[in-house]
């Protein structure tokens, strides 16, 4: 089958679903509280509206091609990184290291995908940034909480740039019998993991009773977690026809990335909790910041990439 044909089918389906959700959201608003604000429904509608914008953006990037997807994820990384570092304690002595992070390592990581240099792509940040950034920070001659500052900058770079860059890196894999269809791997990953977030929210709101860990996240419930992960695992299995996997494999892989995605949100919630904030930013109405939206992708993308690379490429 033709990749363009499949992309049109998948995006057509998403647009249809979003249109249905928008109609339901508008109907709920009209039935329940047409004039007065209603916290849950207004938040739901804001989220649906933001989904439209995000899906259109991803669709446009895919339509442009490899360059568009790389540029989109470079921008997402940039926005996440500024949200992360903004909430992290750094000092004047880190200024030069931060310039390296934003203006050298981030663009370089994505440029390596563009030129298809996998060897350096996989070690640029874990090895070279890891060694060079503390050198740069040490030249700032400020030892106050030095290890903590260096560790936080490296951690932000790993989560926001290194892990996320594995999404567009899927385009560089050579899979037998799957040539020209790699874009669909990105659609599979993003759709499965993001639908897991949505279904966890929905199941949690509907039947959520038992909190997974009130100390870390007041909104995550066991019912939401199980229902969300299982539902979106079914979504992943149902999408097997756009992947190089068999239906059962697609379901298993979807389960793995959904569980990882859940823990991505969980780990970053722990950091937010520690810093005393609810969201990483206010970029996307109803969702919070960019990092709030992609934390699950950040944790699942590298593992998904490796599974495909070692199992199918």
């Amino acid at each position: 089958m033709n990749a363009t044909h499949d992309l049109i089918a998948v995006f057509g389906g998403i647009f249809g679903l979003l249109a249905a959700f928008s109609a339901i959201g508008a109907g709920l608003k009209w039935r329940v509280s047409p004039a007065a604000p209603h916290a849950v429904i207004d938040n739901l509608n804001a989220r649906i509206k933001a989904w439209w914008a995000m899906i259109v953006l991803i669709g446009a990037a895919i339509w442009i091609g490899k360059g568009g997807v790389i540029a989109l994820f470079a921008f997402i990384s940039f926005q996440c990184l500024r949200e992360f570092i903004s909430l992290t304690h750094t000092r004047i002595g880190d200024h030069r290291a931060l310039l390296w992070v934003f203006f050298v390592f981030l663009p370089l990581q994505y440029w390596l995908i563009a030129i298809d240099w996998y060897g350096l792509f996989s070690i640029l940040i874990p090895v070279y940034a890891f060694l060079l950034l503390p050198i740069s920070a040490s030249l700032g001659a400020d030892t106050t909480r030095f290890l903590e500052r260096a560790a936080k900058v490296q951690w932000g770079l790993m989560i926001c740039v290194y892990c996320l860059s594995h999404v567009p890196a899927l385009l560089t894999l050579q899979i037998d019998g799957y040539a020209g269809r790699n874009m669909l791997l990105i659609v599979f990953l993003v759709l499965t993991v993001q639908s897991s977030d949505v279904f966890q929210y929905v199941w949690g709101k509907l039947i959520g009773r038992h909190k997974v860990s009130p100390a870390i996240s007041p909104s995550k419930t066991v019912e939401g977690l199980v229902g969300g992960v299982l539902t979106s695992t079914a979504v992943g299995a149902a999408l097997w026809w756009i992947t190089p996997f068999e239906p059962l494999e697609a379901g298993l892989i979807a389960l793995i990335i959904n569980v990882l995605g859940f823990f991505g949100g969980f780990v970053l919630s722990a950091i937010k909790r520690d810093r005393g904030v609810k969201d990483w930013g206010a970029l996307i109405e109803g969702h919070g910041g960019m990092l709030d939206r992609v934390d699950s992708i950040s944790f699942s993308a590298p593992i998904f990439f490796h599974l495909v690379r070692y199992g199918w490429a």
Partner: protein, 207 residues
């Protein structure tokens, strides 16, 4: 006049884009009445963020109070502060001969304008807040009709610390607090300490 307004909007837009600034009003709201916005001071462009975060009609009525020793030194800075930002340049030196800064500021308030003031008097390169200069107290006593609104500026000092050329694109946040009013029997130092505490109360918890 037209060009000046255009440059002002462009600079505000650029500052907002670079810093992604988000303004939160806590127990106060943007209102067109004489006010003194007083804030912590980390960089020369602090006032620009406050200015850019105000709704445009208020922005036109709000004037940054600027040190003449910095802003009147080159033709470009002179043009920016006088024409674009409509700043109120004051002479900070104790041995000055010109008009009294408090009188100058009072005239602006009496004319229905608002001011942006940095009561630390100079850019603070460390953490927290320096002690306040007394100008804020004189101004509050002389103009009880003007509201004193504390504004905490978070992160701008990290975007472009003193002595650096390239900014780091971090996100900045502004918190506008509730108005502070001097009490009838309050001493100068007690009032300044209270105003300072009101500003510190808007800062995120230290880590």
């Amino acid at each position: 006049m037209k060009v000046d307004t255009l440059i002002a909007s462009a600079l505000c837009g650029f500052a907002r884009l670079l810093t992604g600034v988000r303004a939160t009003w806590r127990d106060s709201a943007p209102e067109p009445r004489p006010r003194v916005y007083y804030a912590n001071h980390r960089s020369h462009v602090d006032f620009l963020l406050i200015w850019a975060s105000l709704p445009p009609p208020l922005r036109r009525l709000t004037r940054p109070v600027a040190g003449a020793d910095y802003w009147l030194t080159t033709p470009l800075k002179r043009y920016l502060i006088n024409r674009v930002f409509r700043g109120l340049c004051i002479d900070r030196r104790p041995e000055r001969h010109g008009p009294n800064p408090v009188t100058q500021m009072g005239e602006a308030l009496a004319a229905g304008e608002s001011l942006i003031l940095f009561p630390e008097g100079t850019r603070n390169l460390g953490d927290a807040l320096l002690p306040f200069k007394s100008g804020l107290h004189h101004l509050a006593r002389a103009h009880p009709e003007a509201e004193l609104i504390p504004v905490w500026i978070e992160n701008l000092g990290r975007v472009m610390p003193k002595g650096t050329v390239v900014p780091v694109p971090l996100l900045c946040a502004l918190t506008f607090g509730p108005a502070v009013t001097p009490q009838p029997d309050e001493s100068r130092d007690a009032f300044l300490a209270r105003a300072r505490d009101a500003l510190l109360a808007l800062a995120p918890p230290a880590d």
